[in-house]
Amino acid sequence: MKIKLGSLFSQLTIFMWVALSLLPFSSALAQAPAQRMVVDVTEGHRRPMPIAIADFAGPNGANIAQVVREDLERSGLFTVQNPQSFAGRIPDVNVTPRFTDWRAISTEALVIGRGSQTEERLRVEFRLWDIYGQSQLLGLEFSSSDVNWRRIAHKVADAIYGRLTGKTGMFDSRVIFVSETGPRTNRIKRLAVMDQDGANPSFLTDGDEQILNPRFSTSGQQVVYTSLGQRGLKLWVLDIPTGRREAVTGLGNMVFAPRFSRDGQSLIFSSDRDGNTDIMTKNLRTGQVRRLTDNPAIDTSPDFSPDSSRVVFTSDRSGNPQIYKMNAQGTGVARISFGSGRYSTPVWSPDGTMVAFTKQAGGQFHIGVMNSDGSNERILASSYLVEGPSFAPNGRVIVFQREEGPGASPSIWTVDVSGANLRKVSIGVSGSDPAWSPMLE
């Protein structure tokens, strides 16, 4: 039985947004300095900003507001005011709020919104207010098919996050992962995808094969993954808009750890021959296969740098697994991890300044980050098993797999690169090998 994908993402690409005009009253008061409202995202322990998000008027308004609240709360940068504390005094979206009323509940920012629906088209407008500066910081309208109300809410949350932190958001994005069911000795491992907040989980494969380590392409339109069958490991490229999947052929029966090049034209992966695993690339257009490493050691878990000029990977050529860097042609190999322990699964941050990794030391597993030259190592999370970090598209959060103790089911967690804000993603099923998508269009 095959599961048909349908058009999983294509229906979602019809967003429009427009800026709302400033209300006359607020523009007169818009002299408040913008810096006042900037949330510092570099130190997660700073005081979170109190923000009130009123239930939106119109269809699905309470649900939309709740998704916005949960997104902002989960970022660790905001304290979301209990909506009960201001129920009954929510003004219309086109009316300037009485700022003194809102100071009374000690909120610094306020979001008022409204949805309206014409046939299947949902239009959501909202305004973000600076309560102490007494000014409108943002006024936007999004519209899309009404089935996309959660995505509209994520876009609202991204806009608020962006305005108040000065950084790109991350809420309108997805996580591809492996759903795990059944006992440890007979695991069913299916490819699955969910929104970054754990909502809308869907299976993408049927469980006949065990699926390992899926990754998005930079465009977010494709996913590459490994399937493990009885006779070997095979790579697949799944095209999200069409739901079509294609095997990557001609690479033997022991290929794994695939990632896309940043231009989406090539795959980098590891391939085993006679017990020796090396790193190779395959150009998906020309079919050309190139070997990047030729060493009797294990070389695996490669990842291209954002500018595609370099590759970071795991090798045990020193005697145990460590992180190495090399040029994209395979030259200039240099070790970058020198702490005590075993290092693996390195991935570049989206801006290329950092590498996140899995480390084994002291009988535990750890997720950490280091500068891309190996300096300034910091451990962000530790457990019986944590594995496989993947950066959010804005580079500020890392998603990874965690088993809380011996024998526990794997689950998906996030942590800020600051080390603060460790959280479990609530999906309702066991999951492993998460990888974050780019921002959706």
């Binding site: 069911t181 007979n186 069913i188 993408l204 695996t300 075993r342 496989g388």
Partner: protein, 197 residues
């Protein structure tokens, strides 16, 4: 049909059979783990299984197999007799942590496998390397490949034609012992030989 929502699939009817045909290189073998699920049926004879790839939404629950999983069941079902003979001779050899060299006991087991292969010249073998859960997924796939290849090299050194042996790594994806401790890990660090057509 369209893609389905995730639902938690109940596995209420799961039957776990396990047999320990060859001892791992520890004093604490699976048989000593009183109360462990994987030991409950340890006395049962190896059974060839036939429910590989049960359709509808994955595993239907019923399960049997040489080692309490059905990963190898499809091929053993194709040749259940050969699978039973191999199990009797010892179809698994065990490894130390992060190692792929063969112990004396492993060599003795593999010598029996080689003798059987040499006496059954039409038989072919799939050798699968396995790892414990104390490594990352991708590193363990490479480590399992090393283990399978160690076994293949040794069998070839005893006169078995290399073309008759196929190798694969299951990394840490197909453990046979679910105990998350050194006893379970020792059993899961193995190479498994299965007859194939």
């Amino acid at each position: 049909m369209t893609y389905s929502k995730l639902n938690y699939v109940g596995l209420s009817a799961f039957i776990l059979l396990a047999a320990c045909a060859s001892k791992p290189p520890t004093t604490n073998s699976a048989n000593t783990g009183a109360g462990s699920r994987s030991t409950e049926a340890a006395a049962l004879p190896p059974a060839a299984a036939t429910n590989q790839g049960a359709g509808q939404g994955g595993n239907q629950g019923a399960n049997s197999g040489l080692y309490g999983n059905n990963y190898g069941a499809g091929q053993n079902a194709a040749n259940p007799y050969a699978g039973q003979v191999l199990a009797t001779l010892g179809d698994r050899v065990f490894f130390a942590t992060d190692a792929y060299n063969l112990s004396e006991e492993a060599r003795a087991t593999l010598s029996r496998q080689a003798a059987w292969l040499n006496g059954n010249p039409n038989s072919r073998l799939l050798v699968a390397g396995n790892c414990d859960e104390r490594g990352t997924r991708e590193y363990n796939l490479a480590l399992g490949a090393r283990r399978a290849n160690s076994v293949k090299d040794f069998l070839v050194s005893l006169g078995v034609n290399a073309n008759r042996i196929e190798t694969v790594s299951y990394g840490k994806e197909r453990p046979i012992d679910d105990r998350p401790n050194e006893s379970g890990w020792a059993i899961n660090r193995n190479s498994h030989s299965m007859p194939i057509n």
